[in-house]
C-alpha cells in the first residue's frame, strides 16, 4: 500500500474538490481514496503512552505514540498534547510541540567520557572506569573533609568538600533518592534549580 504524505493529501484535497465541481468525479471514489488515507495515518496501530512535557512547570500532559520495529527497537512516531488534561487541554507551545527532537537526538553523549587533569581532549572510557574513579574520589574527598565534631564540641557529621546539584528534570522519585543518598554521605552542599 502506498504511503500518503501530507503533501499528497493536500494535493488530493484540491484535486478532489475541483473534480467534484468540474469533471463529475464520483463521490464514492473520493470516499474510497480518503479511507485509504486514514488507514495510512502515521500513528495507526501505535502504542499510546502518557508523558508530561519536560520543559516549564505548567505540566502539560503529552500523548506519545511508539511502534516496535521488527528488530526489537522502539520507534517514537509522535508526541502531542493530551486533550483530556485539565491543565493543557491538548495544547502545547513550540517547546512541547518539538519535544521529539529532545527525546531523539544525534547530539546525545554516546558513552562515558573522561578528561584527566590538564588533558586537552575527552577520552571514551568504560562505565566501570568512571564509576570506580568517582567512587574513589568521593571517598577520598569525604574522608579529607569530614567533620565529626565542630569547634564547639557539637556532633555535626558533615562532609564539607563535596557538593551535589540535582536536575529540575529529575522525576520526583529520583530527586528524593538523590537527597537520601547525598545526605547519607554527609553532604551539606546540596542544591538544584530552585535558587537559579
Amino acid at each position: 500500500m502506498p504511503t500518503v504524505t501530507r503533501r499528497d493529501f493536500l494535493k488530493f484535497g484540491a484535486a478532489g474538490a475541483g473534480a467534484v465541481a468540474f469533471s463529475g468525479l464520483g463521490f464514492d471514489d473520493a470516499v474510497a481514496a480518503s479511507t485509504q488515507i486514514k488507514q495510512n495515518l502515521r500513528i495507526a496501530g501505535a502504542k499510546e503512552s502518557h508523558s508530561v512535557c519536560p520543559y516549564c512547570a505548567v505540566g502539560c500532559s503529552l500523548v506519545a505514540y511508539t511502534r516496535q520495529n521488527p528488530d526489537g527497537s522502539t520507534q517514537l512516531l509522535q508526541i502531542e498534547g493530551d486533550p483530556d488534561s485539565p491543565v493543557n487541554e491538548g495544547r502545547l507551545c513550540p517547546k512541547g510541540a518539538t519535544a521529539m527532537q529532545l527525546a531523539i537526538s544525534p547530539r546525545r553523549v554516546e558513552s562515558p567520557q573522561y578528561r584527566a587533569p590538564g588533558a586537552t581532549a575527552w577520552k571514551s572510557v568504560s562505565w566501570d572506569f568512571v564509576l570506580d574513579k568517582i567512587a574513589n574520589n568521593i571517598k577520598a574527598s569525604r574522608d579529607a573533609s569530614f567533620v565529626t565534631t565542630d569547634g564547639n564540641g557539637n556532633t555535626v557529621n558533615r562532609t564539607e568538600g563535596i557538593a551535589f546539584a540535582g536536575g529540575a528534570a529529575f522525576s520526583s522519585e529520583e530527586g528524593y533518592f538523590a537527597t537520601k543518598l547525598m545526605r547519607g554521605l554527609g553532604l551539606v552542599h546540596l542544591e538544584q534549580q530552585a535558587r537559579v
Binding site: T74, A119, F146, E173, E174, H189, E191, Q193, V196
Partner: protein, 805 residues
C-alpha cells in the same frame, strides 16, 4: 502556587509581576485569557518590558526592575488609607490584631536589632507581646492599639504614597492610581484577585520580601485560600517543584523540615528550635505539633533498623551544616579552595551563573567534576571553552550519559503542586543510564570501599536503607511507595500524614506526599480528565480531584478554610472553596478537620499550619524585616528615595566582600544602564540549544535596546554590540525596540536593557559561529550577591554599559 493553573480562570483581577506568562508559560496562560474572556477579568501587567503578556493586558505599567515592593507597598497603603481591606477577614484570619513588642522599631531604613559589623539583625524585638499567664500573644480585636500589627503596618506603609511609588518604580502617578482603584475593589467578599509572579520577583537581593509584599496585600484583601486568589509562582522547570519538595536544597529535609543545626543534640532540641510555636489558644499549630513525627518517619525511611529509640532514631546521622551551603556558597567555597568535588546531575553551573566567569574559575579550582547529562553542557565543556588554555585546567572531569525524561517513568510536579505520573515511553538511547541508577551504583561502590578499607564515620552509609529488589537499580515505583510511607506493624501504606508517629512505628520519606501512593495504587497516575466534567469536576471550580494527585492530601487550593467566612459560608457563593454543610466541610479537600463545626467554641483558627493560626501580615520568619521594605538593587543608578543612607538591603550577602576578594560591583558612572535578564518562549534555560527546530526559531543571541537609547548611540537592529558589566561582557546583535523605553526614577532619566539568557559556547548556534559563542553567556554580566533570606542571586537587576562594536 497556593492555587493551580486552571484556577486562574476564577479570578476577577490578575496582577502579573516579574513574569511574562504569555511568553514563558504560554499554555498556562490560557487560563488567564479564560478569566478575561469568560468573566471579564482585568489583567494588569507590571514589567520593565512591554511583552506578549502586556499586549493582551488591560493595563501595562513600565516598572523599574526590582522595585515591586514599592508597587505592592503603595497598593497596601491605598487599601489601608481608604479602608478597602476585607474587614472580617483581616480581623479574624490575619495577625492584624496581634500586639508587637514595644522595642520593635523601624527608622531610616533599618529595623530594630541591626548590627553593622555582622550585617545582620537580632530579631528578638520582632515578636509579640505575650500574656505571662498563657504565653500566648496579646491581641486587640479593635485593631486600635498602637502596637497592633494593623497600626504598625499602617504607619510603615504610609510612606508609600503614589508620588513615592512613582519616584521609585517609574510608574506615572495617574497609572498607579488607576491600578490602586481596581485593586481596592478586590477587598469585597464577592470579588477575588490573584497575583502571579515568576523569577522576576525572586531573583533580587530583596526577592523574599518582593513576594511577601504581594502576599500581605492578598491577606488584606481577603484573597488567600480562595479559588481565583492566592500567590501563584510560575516555576520554570518541569520538576523544580517536586525536587524542592524532596529537599535537594541545603536548608531543608523532605517536606520543608529544617535541616538540623549544630548544637541540636536530640530530636527534641531540633523540634524546639525548628517547629512553629502555638501563639494563640485557638491555633491548632498542626505543623508544629507534628514536626517530630514527620522527622522521625523520614529517619525511619532512611535509616531503617539502625534508627532506634536508643539512638534517638539516628538523629546524629543527619549532617548539620556550619552555615549557609546554598548555590553561590558552593562556588565561593571552590574559589577559596575548600571544595574538592562537584556532582552536577542534570544541572549546569557555568551558564547558569551568576557571574559565569567567576563560576568557571571556581570549576577550575575543583579537584574533580562529575557531569551527568544527556547532552553536553557549558559545565562539561568548561575546560575547553573558547579562550581557555585547556592544559592549564587541572580539574578532573567526567561526562556520564544519562537518560531523558521520556526514557524513564516517575512523577513531575507542576507549579500548581499537581504530581503527574508519566510512563517510560522509550528505552534508554545508546549507553545512557538513569541518573538514580548511576547514583545508586556509585553509592554501592563507595559503600564497598568503606567496608573494605574503613574511613570516616561510615555508619550512615552502612545503615542507609536500600530495600529495593535491586539496590543498584531501584525502580521509581518502589521509591514512590517509600516516599508515601507505611505502617511498620501492618506493612500497609499510610493514608495520611495525620497518622504518622514519632515512636519509630511509621515511615514517610516525605510527609507532604503521604497519601499519594496507597495500597490501592498510585494516585499520581489518575486520569479523570475534562472529557467527563460531571464526574471529575462536580463543583465546576476546576479542581479535577481525579486527575493525578496534588499535595497535601490532594488539596487543590491551599489554606482553603479561609475561603469561607466564620460560619463556614463561601465569601462568594458562586466561587466556593470549601463550605460547611451542617455536618462536614464540602468542596475541595478541606485544609481543616473535615467534621469540625466552625461554630464549635473550640474551633481552630483558619491557617492551621502556622503557630498563630492566622495569616501573617507581620512575620519574624524573614531575616531582613517583619514588613517588606523597598531597598535598591545592589547595583542601582539611584539612591533609595525612602532612605538614601540605607539604600540597598543592609543584610544582602556580599560573597566577595566576606571572602576578601576584590569588589566586583560596578557603579553608575562606569555602567550607566539598568539591565535585566529573561527567557524566550522557544527556550528552556540552556537545553533547548540542542533542539534544531527551536534554534531555527531563535537562531542567534541578541539584546533588546530601547529605541531612544539606540538612537543616541547610532545603534540599529542587527548591529553588533558589546554589553559589559564590572564582571564580564556579551557581544551579540542589537534588537532595537520601543517595547523598552526611558523612565524617570528618583528624578533621573534611566534606561533598561533586556538580555535573554540561553546562548553559550555549547549548542547548535555555537557550532556554526566563528567565535563558537565565546561572549554569549548572559550570566557573565550578573552579580554574585544573594538575597538575605534565600541567597537567591540578583539576576534581574544590575548595571551595564552599552557600546556599538
Amino acid at each position: 502556587m497556593t492555587n493551580h493553573w486552571r484556577d486562574i480562570k476564577n479570578a476577577d483581577l490578575i496582577l502579573i509581576n516579574g513574569a511574562n506568562p504569555a511568553e514563558a508559560h504560554p499554555v498556562g496562560f490560557q487560563w488567564f485569557m479564560r478569566a478575561k474572556l469568560d468573566r471579564g477579568a482585568k489583567i494588569i501587567h507590571a514589567d520593565p518590558r512591554f511583552t506578549r503578556t502586556s499586549a493582551v493586558a488591560d493595563m501595562y505599567l513600565r516598572i523599574r526592575t526590582g522595585s515591586d515592593v514599592a508597587y505592592f507597598g503603595g497598593l497596601i497603603n491605598y487599601v489601608l488609607q481608604n479602608n478597602l481591606f476585607h474587614d472580617e477577614y483581616v480581623r479574624n484570619y490575619t495577625n492584624a490584631s496581634f500586639l508587637v513588642r514595644k522595642d520593635y522599631a523601624f527608622n531610616d531604613g533599618l529595623f530594630s536589632g541591626y548590627s553593622q559589623s555582622s550585617r545582620s539583625y537580632n530579631i528578638a524585638s520582632w515578636s509579640y507581646q505575650t500574656d505571662p499567664s498563657t504565653g500566648f500573644a496579646m491581641r486587640d480585636m479593635t485593631l486600635q492599639d498602637p502596637s497592633s500589627v494593623f497600626q504598625l503596618m499602617k504607619t510603615h506603609y504610609s510612606r508609600y504614597t503614589p508620588e513615592m511609588v512613582s519616584s521609585i518604580t517609574g510608574i506615572p502617578v495617574n497609572d498607579f492610581t488607576k491600578v490602586a482603584q481596581l485593586v481596592g475593589q478586590m477587598g469585597k467578599p464577592d470579588k477575588v484577585m490573584t497575583i502571579v509572579y515568576a523569577v522576576g520577583l525572586t531573583h533580587h537581593t530583596t526577592g523574599g520580601q518582593l513576594i511577601r509584599s504581594g502576599a500581605v496585600l492578598q491577606l488584606l484583601l481577603g484573597n488567600m485560600g480562595r479559588p481565583g486568589g492566592g500567590m501563584n509562582a510560575e516555576r520554570g522547570h518541569a520538576n523544580i517543584q517536586g525536587n524542592t519538595d524532596h529537599a535537594i536544597s541545603w536548608e531543608i529535609l523532605p517536606g520543608y523540615l529544617k535541616i538540623p543545626a549544630p548544637g541540636q543534640v536530640t530530636r527534641d532540641d531540633y523540634v524546639a528550635q525548628s517547629a512553629p510555636k502555638k501563639s494563640d489558644q485557638h491555633s491548632w499549630n498542626f505543623f508544629g505539633i507534628n514536626y517530630k513525627k514527620f522527622l522521625t518517619s523520614t529517619l525511619k525511611a532512611w535509616y531503617g533498623a539502625a534508627a532506634t529509640a536508643d539512638n534517638d532514631f539516628a538523629f546524629n546521622f543527619v549532617p548539620k551544616p556550619a552555615s549557609n551551603a546554598s548555590w553561590m556558597t558552593i562556588y565561593d567555597q571552590a574559589l577559596k579552595g575548600k571544595m574538592q568535588g562537584l556532582i552536577l546531575s542534570g544541572m549546569t553551573a557555568a551558564s547558569i551563573g551568576p557571574d559565569s566567569n567567576q563560576v568557571r574559575q571556581a570549576l577550575s579550582n575543583l579537584k574533580w567534576l562529575v557531569v551527568m547529562d544527556a547532552l553536553p553542557t557549558t559545565s562539561s565543556e568548561f575546560w575547553q571553552a573558547p579562550g581557555v588554555e585547556k592544559s592549564q585546567v587541572q580539574t578532573e572531569v567526567f561526562m556520564i550519559p544519562t537518560t531523558h525524561w521520556i526514557e524513564k517513568d516517575g512523577s513531575f510536579v507542576n507549579s500548581g503542586r499537581w504530581s503527574q505520573w508519566k510512563d517510560q515511553v522509550l528505552p534508554p538511547q545508546g549507553q545512557a543510564r538513569h541518573d538514580h541508577w548511576i547514583l545508586a551504583d556509585i553509592f554501592q561502590r563507595v559503600k564497598a570501599l568503606y567496608k573494605s578499607g574503613g574511613g570516616k564515620f561510615p555508619d550512615p552509609i552502612m545503615a542507609l536503607t536500600l530495600d529495593y529488589a535491586d539496590p543498584a537499580k531501584p525502580t521509581l515505583d518502589e521509591i514512590a511507595k517509600e516516599i508515601n510511607g507505611k505502617d511498620l506493624a501492618t506493612g500497609k501504606q499510610m493514608t495520611s500524614f495525620a497518622n504518622l508517629k514519632d515512636d519509630g512505628t511509621t515511615t514517610a520519606g516525605d510527609w507532604i506526599y503521604t497519601g499519594s501512593y496507597l495500597d490501592t495504587g498510585n494516585l499520581m497516575k489518575r486520569r479523570g480528565g475534562i472529557s467527563d466534567p460531571k464526574t471529575n469536576d462536580p463543583t465546576g471550580m476546576g479542581f479535577y480531584a481525579n486527575w493525578a494527585w496534588s499535595w497535601p492530601l490532594n488539596r487543590r487550593v491551599m489554606y482553603n478554610r479561609a475561603s469561607a467566612d466564620l460560619d463556614g459560608k463561601a465569601w462568594d457563593a458562586t466561587r466556593p472553596g470549601i463550605t460547611w454543610n451542617g455536618s462536614k466541610w464540602v468542596g475541595d479537600v478541606p485544609d481543616y478537620p473535615a467534621t469540625l463545626d466552625p461554630h464549635d467554641p473550640n474551633a481552630y483558627l483558619p491557617f492551621i499550619m502556622n503557630g498563630e493560626g492566622v495569616g501573617r501580615l507581620f512575620s519574624n520568619g524573614m531575616v531582613d524585616g517583619p514588613f517588606p521594605e523597598h531597598y535598591e538593587p545592589i547595583e542601582s543608578p539611584v539612591q533609595n528615595p525612602l532612605h538614601p543612607t540605607n539604600s540597598a538591603s543592609p543584610v544582602a550577602f556580599l560573597y566577595d566582600k566576606a571572602a576578601g576578594r576584590p569588589d566586583r560591583f560596578g557603579t553608575v558612572s562606569e555602567f550607566p544602564y539598568i539591565a535585566t535578564s529573561y527567557r524566550l518562549t522557544e527556550h528552556e534555560h540552556y537545553v533547548t540549544q540542542h533542539v534544531p527546530l527551536l534554534v531555527q526559531l531563535q537562531p542567534k543571541p541578541f539584546v533588546e535596546i530601547p529605541y531612544e537609547l539606540a538612537n543616541t548611540k547610532g545603534i540599529k537592529s542587527g548591529d553588533s554590540v558589546r554589553v559589559s558589566s564590572k564582571r564580564g561582557k556579551v557581544e551579540v546583535q542589537a534588537l532595537v525596540t520601543k517595547r523598552l523605553g526611558p523612565m524617570t526614577v528618583a528624578g533621573q532619566k534611566v534606561y533598561q536593557i533586556g538580555i535573554p539568557i540561553h546562548w553559550g559556547y555549547v549548542g547548535v548556534s555555537a557550532d556554526s559561529d566563528p567565535s563558537h559563542g565565546r561572549y554569549w553567556l548572559a550570566n557573565a554580566l550578573t552579580p554574585f550577591v544573594g538575597d538575605a533570606n534565600a541567597r537567591t542571586p540578583e539576576f534581574k537587576a544590575f548595571l551595564v554599559n552599552l557600546e556599538k562594536i
